[in-house]
């Protein structure tokens, strides 16, 4: 596999990395007032738009924008916090959707082998987890690792992360089912779009024929 820098511009790589980090941040914890205000601001709206463009997921971003604009920022913070807890903490009257690979890969409990593999990826990237106690197979950590692999132009490691992220097929399907028109359902679809985008890019890199998809998309922007 060729390196990212051979296929993507620096800006594209930065945008994809920041998209992964943005998604990571929003999955890690419910957004606070400052974050919601930033998302609702002009630069935030533009940044969301860019995410939609680069992932070919404009409708998902529109959904996010609509939810973010639905009432005063304080109420949006409350609603998203409630939803985050309901979906990911498992204390409401519905099954929760733990954002950990081990909960979805059939190994039976949290902190399973996926956490060990994710830890090894971080080690190979020469980074460590700064969040106390959070297992490395948390979706946010894996997305952050993906961002770091892009930044370091380590397509080999990015491929490993993408392979690890296969569990998000089930996770995103469940999350979309539980939160079809909601904020986190839209985020789940963006995660899938990010994976698709990067996978397509990798596939294109191994195919000498057509112009890489990344460049085609970039050219339209």
């Amino acid at each position: 596999m060729s390196s990212f820098s051979q296929r993507l511009t620096a800006a594209e790589m930065a945008d994809l990395a920041q998209t992964a980090e943005a998604l990571a941040s929003l999955f890690l914890a419910p957004p606070d007032l400052e974050t919601v205000q930033a998302l609702r601001s002009m630069p935030g709206q533009v940044a969301l738009g860019r995410i939609g463009e680069i992932l070919g997921a404009g409708s998902e971003v529109d959904a996010l924008r609509q939810i973010l604009a639905d009432g005063p920022a304080e109420e949006v913070v409350t609603a998203l916090g409630r939803r985050h807890t309901a979906l990911f903490e498992g204390i409401f009257r519905q099954r929760s959707l733990p954002p950990y690979a081990s909960a979805w890969d059939g190994t039976g409990r949290l902190c399973g082998p996926a956490a060990g593999r994710a830890q090894a990826i971080l080690r190979d990237l020469d980074v460590h987890l700064d969040v106390t106690g959070e297992p490395a197979d948390h979706l946010a950590v894996q997305l952050a690792a993906l961002a770091e692999a892009l930044r370091q132009d380590r397509s080999d490691i990015a491929a490993r992360v993408l392979d690890e992220l296969r569990w998000t097929d089930r996770f995103a399907a469940a999350l979309t089912g539980a939160d079809r028109t909601g904020f986190y359902g839209a985020l789940a679809r963006l995660v899938l779009a990010l994976r698709t985008r990067l996978a397509a890019d990798a596939a294109a890199a191994t195919d000498p024929g057509p112009e890489p998809l990344t460049r085609a998309v970039t050219a339209q922007i």
Partner: protein, 819 residues
């Protein structure tokens, strides 16, 4: 800025987008990853222990992958995989959480909403501040007794991280609180037995299994099932009872199982099975006693020398005092065991060296005090108390009572800073401004200011506004769940530390994630009775998520309240552990044993073993008393077994007469005024410890259609048209649950078994009386007290009916699993 006030972009779109998504979203750098690879985590086996035994935690790169039983365990628990799962359970509490209504509207807001789950994640700093401020507010507003810290439950073993002691330590150092007295296991027995035999007995050693194998001719398991309840210990399990049952089997000892269920122990020993109606044990014992007396089989010499009060009991037995002779025929009518069988038992008990092993469940019923008293009266008539292989034992079924006690020092533990020296069971320690009988909390919440009789004195029930629970699950172990829900609405605040989202945590206002004992260091002894080893309970893995040890949590709260140094004494976790060990080392030296230096002990991969003497191996309960009843007098007023208590007579309780007496419970199988047809055996579960491990994968091995199993005899199932695997509704006037039907002939007709400890899962948490979707049996049990003497719980008093559940099945959601 609102969405409507957005301004037109002034930057060109493309130039802004270059490297600007993070900035545009207000993400000032993700605090997730730092530069530099972390060192690889620990790998290998780490020695530790838990209620289920000693084990090695197998770790790969800092992640526990298996809990492997210690090679020295004679009968490793099949529940160990569930123990590992509790560490990494999907229902693990990951972050400090506060109920939204409480956080936004203040203490006491929307109490009906407890359990509906609208929590807000907060930082540890905010959580500590909220807790400290709330303790202060409640104390200032209502007085110190308004804080209830009688927190009760099985927590985890370890002499430092005893969360209940740590809670009381923090509250004692910063003021006072309301405590609780007694426990749910033996609430009735432990109050009455000091009047009868001079000590609480239920947590004291029995004649050893080795002695039984050599001397006992007839072993009677009366509501006692060692192969169930000895999988666990209050401390770290030794599993000595498994060896004990094997010894009896090898010796070919005859055994009888008196129980509505043909227990695992009965099956292992191929015991004769006698299945009386539940709650009729006293009547059955009286029938046997009458036969003994009628046939002149009782030991009058023993009664004369070692007991008092038989002369006052006898008129009752013979019917002279109440006109009802307690004949085998009379007893048979009540208990359902034929009169001839009762006579046969009287003859066999008296002609053979007989050990009567009585279980705790028999006294968790209305008038439960009478059972242990009746058994000791029966044992006294048999006259074998204090003889090898004979008499009675009250702990054979629990924590490997009867496993010989090794010569070991006592390992000290952290105290509650009350200045009260604890002897015996730590959870029975007394401190606090007020103390209420542990199972009377609901009554207290609903009746502040009311006076309550308890064990010969009067208690004024305090007004409680804050309940603080650590290491326990009252929404599992307390009876009459719906009455409890009503009572809980009197609280302003309910604070819980736990490892998983139990029903109690779900009903809390402030929830703090605690570490399991596998995420911290501690020290403990092996075997509640055996005391065979001192064990380094080493940390297996670093704390997961944001969990913190109870010690650290309470240290921070104490610091917020100005008593941080007093709480920690400036000692670290390892300082405390080393201190406990060194204390034991000094005591051991006094016993002629030299323990290794601490570092050698801690770094060893084996528990530190202590010797077992031949004398201890062959120990006989009450042998000293029998040898010299004056020199070794019992702790009763007379120094002898009291078959009639003048002290209890003086209390004048009509629900607890001064000698063992058959008293009708409020409801029972065959009871004249009983409405429902099926008695519920709310037994200790097979594959969990009360409610511990219910929220783990191990549940998948026993659940039926995702519900708690309900055992039923084939005849009862046929009468209701029910089939194996049906989801059934079990119901009475107190509540309703769903369960999965298991049809089996190891349970007698007229009785169903729904084990206690199933996690409460109300379909509508706001509605009192809502259907429990999983099967928490305490929706059905009564919340009344055993009597005014002990005020114990009646967890085995429940009648119900069963029907196939029709309609859409509500999902079980309490365990939090992926869809």
């Amino acid at each position: 800025m609102t969405a409507n006030s957005m301004t037109t972009p002034t930057l060109s779109k493309r130039s802004f987008l270059k490297g600007s998504i993070a900035a545009g979203l207000g993400l000032a750098g993700l605090p997730l990853l730092g530069r530099g690879a972390a060192a690889e985590g620990a790998s290998g086996g780490i020695l530790s222990g838990c209620h289920w035994g000693v084990f090695h935690g197998i770790v790969e790169d800092g992640r526990a992958v298996e809990f492997k039983p210690w090679a020295g365990d004679p009968a490793p628990s099949p529940q160990l995989p569930g123990v590992l799962d509790s560490l990494y359970s999907e229902s693990r509490i990951r972050y400090p959480m506060v109920r939204r209504a409480w956080l936004e509207q203040g203490p006491g807001a929307d109490p009906d909403g407890r359990g509906s789950g609208d929590f807000v994640r907060v930082s540890w700093e905010q959580a500590i501040e909220l807790v400290a401020n709330e303790i202060t507010r409640v104390r200032d507003t209502y007085g110190h007794p308004a804080v209830f810290a009688g927190s009760y439950g099985w927590k985890s073993p370890g002499n430092l991280h005893n969360c209940q002691t740590l809670l009381r330590r923090m509250l004692n150092l910063t003021g006072s609180y309301t405590n609780s007295t007694g426990d749910y296991s033996t609430g009735a027995a432990q109050v009455i037995l000091p009047y009868v035999s001079g000590s609480i007995e239920v947590y004291e050693q029995c004649t050893t299994w080795d002695n039984l194998a050599a001397n006992c001719e007839l072993m009677v398991f009366w509501g006692a099932n060692p192969l169930n309840n000895s999988e666990i210990c209050w401390s770290v399990a030794d599993h000595g009872s498994f060896r004990g049952v094997d010894l009896l089997k090898e010796a070919g000892t005859e055994s009888i199982c008196i129980d509505p269920i043909r227990t695992e122990t009965a099956q292992a020993l191929d015991s004769e099975w006698i299945a009386p109606a539940p709650q009729t044990d006293v009547a059955m014992m009286l029938g046997i006693m009458h036969a003994l007396y009628d046939e002149g089989l009782h030991d009058q010499a023993f009664l004369d020398r070692y007991t008092v009060g038989f002369d006052k009991f006898l008129p009752y037995l013979l019917g002279d005092s109440d006109g009802t002779p307690k004949t085998p025929e009379w007893a048979a009518e009540i208990c359902g065991v034929p009169a001839d069988k009762l006579r046969d038992l009287a003859r066999r008990f008296s002609s053979k060296r007989t050990m009567l092993a009585l279980g705790y469940s028999t006294q968790r019923q209305h008038h439960g005090e009478q059972i242990h008293w009746a058994l000791i009266t029966l044992a006294s008539m048999l006259g074998q108390i204090g003889l090898p292989g004979g008499g009675y034992g009250l702990s054979y079924h629990y924590a490997s009572g009867g496993a010989p006690t090794h010569t070991s020092p006592i390992l000290k533990a952290i105290d509650d800073a009350s200045g009260v020296v604890v002897e015996g069971a730590a959870w029975l320690a007394k401190s606090g401004a007020v103390s209420i009988p542990v199972s009377r909390l609901v009554e207290t919440l609903l009746n502040p200011g009311k006076t309550m009789q308890f064990n010969g004195h009067e208690i004024e029930l305090p007004e409680i506004k804050l309940a603080y629970w650590v290491g326990g699950n009252p929404f599992s172990h307390h009876q009459d769940r719906n009455e409890m829900l009503r009572a809980w609405r009197q609280l302003d605040t309910f604070i819980v530390h736990d490892i998983q989202w139990t029903a109690s945590a779900r009903h809390a206002d402030i929830v703090l994630p605690a570490t399991t004992s596998y995420e911290r260091n501690d020290i403990a002894q092996v075997g509640d009775y055996a005391l065979s080893h001192i064990l380094p309970m080493k940390k297996i893995v670093d704390p997961v998520f944001e969990a913190r040890s109870d010690y650290d949590i309470f240290a921070d709260i104490a610091a917020s309240l100005g008593k941080g140094h007093e709480f920690t004494q400036g000692l670290s976790e390892m300082d405390w552990i080393r201190g406990f060990y060194e204390g034991a080392r000094i005591e051991a030296r006094g016993k002629g044993m030299e323990m290794p230096v601490f570092e050698s002990f801690w770094d060893s991969d084996e528990p530190l073993a202590f010797p077992l003497s031949d004398v201890q191996k062959d120990w006989v309960r009450h042998a000293d008393f029998r040898a010299d009843p004056l020199l070794n007098a019992l702790g009763t007023a007379s120094g002898k077994f009291e078959l009639y208590s003048n002290a209890i007579e003086k209390y004048g309780y009509d629900d607890c007469p001064p000698h063992a007496t058959w008293m009708e419970p409020i409801e029972r199988l065959g009871g004249a005024t009983t409405t429902y047809p099926l008695a519920i055996a709310a037994n200790h579960p097979d594959m969990r410890l009360h409610s511990q491990l219910c929220g783990t994968k191990i549940r998948e091995g026993y659940e039926v259609k995702g519900r708690e199993p309900c055992w039923m005899n084939p005849a009862d199932a046929a009468a209701r048209g029910l089939s194996e695997g049906d989801v059934v509704r079990v119901f009475n006037d107190r509540g309703q649950i769903l369960a999965g039907l298991v049809i089996t002939d190891v349970i007698r007709p007229g009785v169903i078994r729904v084990s206690e400890g199933g996690w409460f899962d109300p379909v509508d948490p706001r509605q009192i009386g809502s259907l429990c979707a999983y099967g928490d049996v305490n929706n059905l049990t009564t919340g009344i007290a055993t009597s005014r003497l002990a005020q114990g719980n009646c967890g085995q008093t429940a009648m119900a009916d069963v029907e196939r559940f029709e309609g859409p099945l509500p999902p079980v959601t309490v365990f939090s699993q992926p869809a």
